[in-house]
């Protein structure tokens, strides 16, 4: 049985969509059912995705902007008349799974809307998720519920902003880092 079928059987209604690009399979699950789904994928005897390769954050802001730019004809009507559809979730988090037994790979994706930026941490399943989740917290500003030590990883504490967001300029916002030494603090 091919991987796509097996994943669908394992996740049942939790699999919102299953896509394939260049032979890689991506399955989208609801953010609330993330930990359950990953556990199911890990324990299912036909799948055994027992190794977490990486956790990846994606900001889709520019994709929405481009879509708006393309449909110029539609924009000519006054914008007030349009029924305001809920905006598509801005962020995505991708979990790269690997089965050590069969060497199959699977990507599990969740969508994170801008108004609810809290996701359950998967460090309880794989400790390997620890730094990648800290990195996403640092560079995208997404919170992970249940992470043992959620703090900035690559940028320094006290840095404002999240550099990998698409609305953060490439050249930065002119931040400079000034080290405050302990003695100075006392004074």
């Amino acid at each position: 049985m091919n991987l796509e079928r097996r994943v669908r059987i394992c996740l049942e209604s939790n699999a919102l969509s299953v896509e394939e690009t260049a032979g890689d399979i991506t399955v989208t699950v609801p953010a609330g059912r993330l930990v359950d789904s990953l556990m199911a994928l890990k324990e299912h005897p036909d799948l055994k995705f027992d190794f977490l390769s990486d956790v990846i954050g994606i900001d889709n802001l520019d994709l929405f902007r481009k879509k708006k730019g393309k449909g110029k004809a539609a924009e000519e009507e006054p914008p007030e008349k349009k029924v305001k559809a809920p905006p598509p979730p801005r962020f995505e988090i991708v979990y790269l799974l690997l089965s050590l037994e069969s060497s199959e790979r699977l990507r599990v994706k969740i969508q994170v809307p801008e108004n609810d930026m809290t996701v359950d941490s998967v460090t309880s399943i794989w400790r390997a998720a620890s730094w990648p989740e800290r990195e996403i917290y640092d560079l995208f500003g997404i919170n992970f519920l249940g992470h043992p030590d959620l703090k900035r990883l690559l940028m320094w504490d006290g840095f404002k902003g999240h550099p990998l967001r698409k609305d953060y300029p490439l050249e930065g916002k002119g931040e400079t880092r000034r080290l405050v030494y302990e003695q100075e603090k006392i004074r």
Binding site: A22, D54, R107, W126, R127, A128, L154
Partner: protein, 386 residues
């Protein structure tokens, strides 16, 4: 592997101090002679034993992923050199393969062989640095020099191939730009003997050296279960006894047609990591021999590049591809939106995953063993911080 019974003259006496509760914080790095690159470890110590060691990273963060979003696909290749600068060719190929997978390009066989040869040379160079510096950190300076003479010879080959030594910017999307130099055969014959001689000398100076064995065997052991939970890959995982190598398990190019062994350890300690790297160097030599033999049978005018459009615009989609780099699974995740710039690039550096387990690895060990552990993991700040 040498039996554990040979090590540890004083088994328990060294490592189990009475906790006094009187802890001292020692800040090692980010600029410290024993730190490789710009790593910082905040250690809490009780006497000489480590209670906790918390790594802080980001001192070499250059925002490679953000830069990549603003460059086109070809312009990103030089940035991949700066990830693991000890084996730049492997990074280049890993990135190029990912873009080729996204575009559905098939690289010509001759180009594949050239890539394999240079990647394996890079692997040898990387392992030589790691083993050499492990020796230096444990007080053995001589093997470092023997190994670095041979590393220099490897760089001579790189230089003759495309004019660069450390940061290769090797290959293009869809193939390679330059053929191997005409006198690669004699150069490789000389280098092969040199590598084997240097490895033999290192082996004799380190492997059965009483001081080295005491400092390496049984130091920071790690179980296979923990290693997999923490996302270990590469030599550090194989040292724990897991026989996993992407060249064998998810073969790319012609790796499945080569004969080579995958060494594994037992305890995952410093000594096993060292031994795995030493054996892998010899296996890489064998792979290069076989690949060069196949390369010689190729017609001279065989193509080096696939048919690639002038402007590289992969179709929209997401792709992940990983290769077995010298340090482990090096993967690139690319999200394309159909334009000439990648929408998002995520690099999965192998030592990023390994380094996050560092507190667990060194807890309860001596400070001097912390240094030994760090060098045996081969943490490269360039790929760690990106």
């Amino acid at each position: 592997m040498t039996a554990e019974s040979q090590c540890r003259i004083y088994p328990e006496a060294i490592n189990e101090p009475e906790p006094s509760g009187d802890y001292v914080h020692i800040n090692i790095g980010p600029s410290h002679p024993a730190m490789h690159g710009t790593l910082r470890i905040i250690t809490t110590t009780d006497g000489e034993s480590v209670i906790n060691a918390e790594p802080e990273i980001g001192y070499l963060h250059r925002g490679v992923e953000k830069l990549g979003e603003n460059l086109n696909y070809t312009q990103f290749i030089p940035l991949t050199d700066r990830l693991n600068y000890c084996s730049a060719a492997a990074n280049n190929v890993a990135y190029e393969m990912t873009v080729e997978k996204l575009m559905g390009l098939e690289v010509p066989e001759k180009a594949q062989l050239i890539r394999i040869i240079l990647m394996e040379l890079a692997r040898i160079a990387d392992h030589q640095v790691c083993v050499g510096i492990l020796g230096v950190d444990l007080g053995a300076f001589t093997p470092f020099l023997y190994l670095f003479i041979q590393r220099e010879e490897i760089y001579e080959i790189f230089e003759k191939t495309n004019g660069t030594r450390l940061t290769n910017t090797f290959g293009r999307i869809g193939g390679v730009d330059t053929d191997l130099p005409e006198d690669f055969g004699p150069m490789w014959n000389k280098l092969r003997d040199g590598i084997r001689k240097a490895n033999d000398e290192t082996d004799r100076l380190l492997t059965h050296n009483r001081i080295f064995m005491d400092r390496a065997i049984g130091v920071t052991p790690f179980s296979a279960e923990d290693a997999l939970n923490w996302g270990f890959t590469g030599p550090c995982l194989r040292a724990c006894g897991v026989k996993r190598d992407l060249r064998r398990d998810e073969p790319y190019y012609m790796y499945d047609s080569f004969q080579f062994k995958i060494p594994t350890g037992e305890n995952g300690d410093v000594f096993d990591r060292y031994m795995v790297r030493m054996i892998e160097m010899e296996e890489s030599v064998k792979i290069i021999d076989q690949a060069y033999e196949m390369y010689r049978q190729m017609p001279e005018d065989a193509p080096l590049m696939a048919r690639v459009p002038k402007i590289i615009k992969p179709p929209a989609g997401e792709v992940y591809h990983a290769i077995e780099s010298p340090n482990g699974e090096l993967g690139f995740f690319i999200k394309s939106d159909g334009t000439s710039n990648p929408y998002r690039i995520k690099i999965r550096p192998p030592c990023y995953m390994i380094y996050q387990a560092f507190p667990e690895l060194v807890q309860g060990e001596m400070i001097a063993d912390l240094i030994a552990c760090l060098s045996s993991l081969n943490i490269i700040a360039g790929e760690l911080d990106r």
